[in-house]
Symmetry: C2
């Protein structure tokens, strides 16, 4: 945890100091390009393994047949369906939020834990440390109704752009994974996201971007309360009782939210290992797929030294147990939908 925290700070420093919001003229809404042939953006190796597995488990004469009601697929989000570098998109949202809203919140300017983020002051961010991170997540994700939060995230996801590709975040999703989601859905699977990211944050856009509705999105969450405000019912987001949907928290959340053991799991980090082990324990012939970020040019290259997506134990276990390890540089023919 400590080591990871160091990286958080280093990367926040890089991020906060260096970046200016880039501007360009791309304004059209992303169209998810689903190519004719299934899994066309995948290299032959992993493509064949996935196709063969699906063929086997959907064949009612196979000993490995899985009835449709048990075809549960779970996917991590950050680093598995969209990038998580240089900092997770949700943290970028939190920083953009406090910057944009600070005029309405003069008390934030007096708060040393928040001030650094508002001013892009690396020294102040460093000093605020872990408490500062918790504070910025709290003020940007609680103390407001679900509707107000939803509208803020919607506005951000529709307009904010990333620093490397100058694309909107919903355009920066992995094309091969979109094809995989579609292919599984076409074969009777129900796709769920099981992510360390905030459930409420993801639910705003997952239906449009991945075709995954809010009730199939499992993520981290905190408390909430129900109120009638002048007879109008509202859900107020709180910051207490945080459930972190990561590591062992993932299979527990699958148990809590889904209630079935998955037969397919996609992930990219040690935070996904427990849910992969859980999936491997299915009574059916299951499949685990682990993305390894190996393409510094077309996306990012990382595993051990990273803020988000530390990959070490899961890679060893995946190789030992024969899970599908995807070398993104070689196995993803195309990474993003916007690529030619």
């Amino acid at each position: 945890m400590k080591k990871q925290f160091k990286y958080i700070l280093i990367l926040l420093l890089i991020y906060s100091c260096g970046e200016e919001t880039p501007k360009n003229t791309i304004t059209d809404v992303q169209t998810v390009v689903l190519l004719d042939s299934p899994l066309k953006s995948w290299a032959d190796g992993p493509r064949t393994r996935i196709m063969n597995w699906i063929e086997d488990i959907t064949d009612s004469t196979s000993k490995n047949y899985i009835p449709e009601t048990d075809r549960i697929a779970v996917f991590d989000n950050d680093g598995t369906l969209w990038p998580e570098q240089p900092i997770p998109n949700q943290l970028k949202y939190a920083i953009d939020f406090v910057k944009a809203e600070s005029a309405q919140h003069p008390e934030w300017l007096k708060d040393p834990l928040l001030r650094g983020f508002i001013d892009n002051d690396p020294e102040a961010i460093k000093k605020a440390g872990k408490k500062g991170l918790a504070r910025i997540m709290a003020v940007s994700h609680s103390g407001m109704s679900e509707t107000v939060f939803h509208d803020h995230v919607q506005q951000w996801i529709d307009t904010a752009r990333d620093g490397k590709f100058n694309m909107r975040y919903q355009e920066l999703v992995y094309q091969p994974m979109l094809e995989l989601l579609e292919h599984l859905k076409n074969h009777g699977f129900r796709n769920f996201i099981v992510s360390g990211g905030g459930a409420d944050f993801m639910r705003v856009w997952t239906e449009k971007v991945y075709g995954i509705p809010p009730y199939q999105v499992v993520g981290s969450y905190a408390g909430a309360k129900f109120e009638l405000k002048d007879s109008t019912p509202v859900i107020i987001k709180l910051s207490d009782d945080l459930y972190v949907d990561d590591k062992d928290g993932k299979p527990v959340a699958i148990h809590r939210f889904i209630g079935k053991v998955p037969v397919f799991c996609g992930g990219n980090s040690d935070g996904d290992l427990a849910m992969m082990q859980y999936t491997a324990g299915s009574k059916y012939r299951s499949m685990n797929l682990l993305l390894h970020h190996t393409d510094a040019e077309r996306e990012y290259q990382y595993d051990l030294k990273t803020l988000s997506g530390h990959l070490e134990k899961a890679l060893v276990e995946a190789r030992e147990r024969g899970w599908v390890v995807v070398d993104m540089k070689n196995d993803f023919r195309r990474i993003f939908p916007f690529e030619k």
Copy 2:
């Protein structure tokens, strides 16, 4: 709460002293009879209101049109989809469980909080009080893997019979509500259970009985932990961090698990009022339906004086706001599938 607790004890006394498990020869599996005409078991009044509403909100030319992705229907379970008298079925399961398992747990016999249940001793149950109820729920619902719990509930639901009708519990579900679930599903709705009952308890049988899969079942839940036991992944059910999915907890759980405001809500008690208010707050033309248990002969008659399903405020508000109030004696032509 105190008043309710008194009823718990009174009813437990009646239950524990009076009842012998009845025996008869009915052994065939329940077949859910879905009649030709939709909502055939409903009287004309509520039937017409439901049909007209569905016609309106599924008509793409109507100003009240609701896109399919937002057609979320939520149903309470105890007293709305199946009976909750004289004590909730899940409590009956807990009592049956400790009785059946006590031979393997000599320590339970020494536990004054549990002993009364095992011996059918009304004085001991009374003395154990609220703590006794919490204890029997804990030992019957935690300290075991999800698989072991699932198998116990499966075995019970397949064999145990209720005391009034001598039917298995999965045969004692409301025929008109089965028709309503089916009719909504056929019109693009996604049906969810949002119940004070335990999620894990319901998920064992809801897919078979109601056609509602585990991931559309929201209920009360407690903590859980993930473990590898000799390399085998298991989820162990714990008794801490109890989330009670009742009253204000229902809209909060809808927010947490479903992430969309329902447009249809079915309930039968004050515990359902908050989720009905939440549903009424939908941006769409929504519908609330409240069952009033008025048939002492064919089912049970209760509202104010009951262990489970206290109905008072919700009935007043439903009448004031013009929600559909179902008088079960007059509005349910048939109550259970097994009736002629």
